[in-house]
């Protein structure tokens, strides 16, 4: 293990030495940006680093951190305005995205059972309302699931039903047919004929 210098390192350097931040401070700011999950404001940084470090010095340290990453192909110091305050964070650029995707075979996306059941009900029983899906599945429909199915382009609204509460009716899209290799909904197997014939093998 490399011996790391103690954290107090930067503290003994004079605080108001112009705007050139001591190396220890730059590294500290960098480490804090990387360790804290959320983007940091100057105030948040100041609370952590200690009030005795002048804000200008902190700002100078941020500039130095930005410089350190400027030539990096995949990471940069980004800042944005949140509620009137500028916050800073180190972000991976879009260039990393394809690699992240490649590296996550565990994330081979699959529909959850709940999503599959919801989609199945929509496909076979369309037009169907959310309430009807809930009745058939016996559990509340997670809005995330409907959102996911809509984002995938498989499910769309068919308008509202003219009944109390005017519930939205859901149905499948043409894209759904295409993605599932179907020419029409009629190609979906007719379950009413086979239902209940097998044993439940649990």
């Amino acid at each position: 293990m490399t011996e790391k210098a103690p954290p107090s390192d930067h503290a003994d350097t004079p605080v108001s030495s112009g705007s050139e931040p001591p190396e220890g401070l730059v590294e500290l700011v960098e480490a804090l940006l990387l360790t804290v999950d959320e983007p940091l404001s100057l105030e948040a940084l100041s609370t952590m680093v200690g009030q005795e470090t002048a804000p200008e010095l902190l700002e100078a340290a941020l500039v130095r951190v930005a410089k350190r990453w400027q030539s990096h192909r995949f990471i940069e110091l980004a800042n944005r305005e949140v509620g009137g305050r500028r916050v800073w964070h180190l972000v991976a650029t879009a260039a990393v995205a394809p690699y992240l995707k490649a590296g996550d075979p565990g994330r081979v996306p699959k529909l959850s059972r709940a999503a599959l059941e919801t989609l199945a009900l929509i496909a076979w029983r369309q037009p169907i309302t959310r309430g009807e899906i809930e009745a058939a599945r016996g559990v509340a429909v997670n809005p995330q699931i409907l959102k996911q199915l809509a984002e995938r382009g498989w499910v769309r609204s068919l308008g509202v039903k003219d009944s109390p509460g005017r519930p939205e009716m859901l149905g499948t899209t043409r894209e759904f047919l295409g993605d599932f290799g179907l020419n029409s909904l009629a190609e979906l197997p007719d379950f009413e004929r086979f239902a209940g014939q097998d044993d439940i093998d649990v």
Partner: protein
């Protein structure tokens, strides 16, 4: 740099440092005179995690072989301490007094001829045997605790670093899985919409038992990961039973689940309010 477990180490802290400290100063000698202020003694006593800890301290301090405890001597020292505490009007936890009674009992039994044993074993029962085992177990515990404490710990000795992932991360495409879709509908047909008589096989794993386990898990915390309620060793049967149990609990509104991100972990959470007695037949649900 290649050393094993190269997560940064904390400065190696001494774990079992039984030297009593009063105001940070080590108290090397037993407090023999009565000029020790009572609160100092109380602080000293607080260093101990209980009578087993105090006893172990006495044993270690005098380099006594734990397997050959001179019970008379140790008991005397232990009682001396208690007497000292009492004379200072320090309230002792019941556990300390219980230990005193036990030690005294062992001491008196040591004076008696060994009890004859029913079985054929040659060794007579040592009255100290249980005490020794408990001391050893406690010693193991303190050492295990020390090892845990020395283990580099996330949040104390090292911290995860993370940059924000790119926001233009392409949404993973969900593959269209017609077989899965058909299976899902088939399952729904069986479970709900079309109820027909069907043969039910005996279950080796109790759904009710599993439901209880899940409820208990959720009683402790408001939520848990779905993966936590599955037991890999139970195989497919276990998966089925656990799934049915979760579904049944959801049906009776004892719990609900959520998934923060598509394909992310599923979190089961307790629904606010009562946890109704699950109403389910001991057989398979329809």
């Amino acid at each position: 740099m290649s050393s094993e477990g190269r997560i940064p180490q904390s400065d190696s802290r001494r774990w079992v440092d039984a030297t009593p400290r009063v105001s940070g100063e080590p108290l090397e000698q037993l407090p023999l005179d009565l000029y020790i202020p009572a609160d100092a003694l109380a602080i000293w006593l607080e260093q101990f995690e209980g009578p087993l800890d105090l006893l172990l301290y006495l044993i270690r301090k005098h380099n006594i072989d734990i397997l050959e405890i001179p019970v008379a001597r140790v008991t005397e020292q232990y009682l001396d301490y208690l007497a000292l505490m009492k004379s200072m009007a320090i309230e002792l936890a019941a556990e300390y007094l219980l230990m005193a009674a036990w030690l005294t009992e062992i001491k008196s039994r040591m004076l008696l001829p060994p009890e004859p044993r029913d079985d054929d074993e040659e060794e007579p029962l040592d009255p100290r045997a249980e005490l020794v085992e408990r001391l050893l177990e406690y010693e193991r515990t303190t050492r295990a605790a020390g090892l845990l404490d020395e283990q580099p710990r996330r949040g104390r000795d090292w911290f995860d670093l993370s940059t924000e992932p790119p926001d233009r991360l392409p949404a993973p495409a969900v593959p269209a899985d017609l077989a899965g879709l058909i299976a899902a509908m088939q399952g729904l047909m069986r479970e709900g919409s079309v109820r027909r008589a069907h043969h039910v096989r005996a279950e080796a794993l109790s759904i009710r038992q599993r439901m209880t386990e899940i409820l208990v898990a959720l009683a402790e915390r408001p939520s848990c990961e779905l993966s936590e309620v599955f037991h890999v060793e139970e195989g497919r049967m276990g998966v089925a039973v656990t799934t049915v149990a979760v579904l049944e609990l959801a049906r009776t509104h004892a719990l609900d689940w959520s998934q923060e991100s598509p394909f992310g972990p599923v979190t089961l959470f307790r629904l606010a309010g009562k946890t109704p007695e699950p109403a389910v037949e001991e057989e398979m649900p329809r």
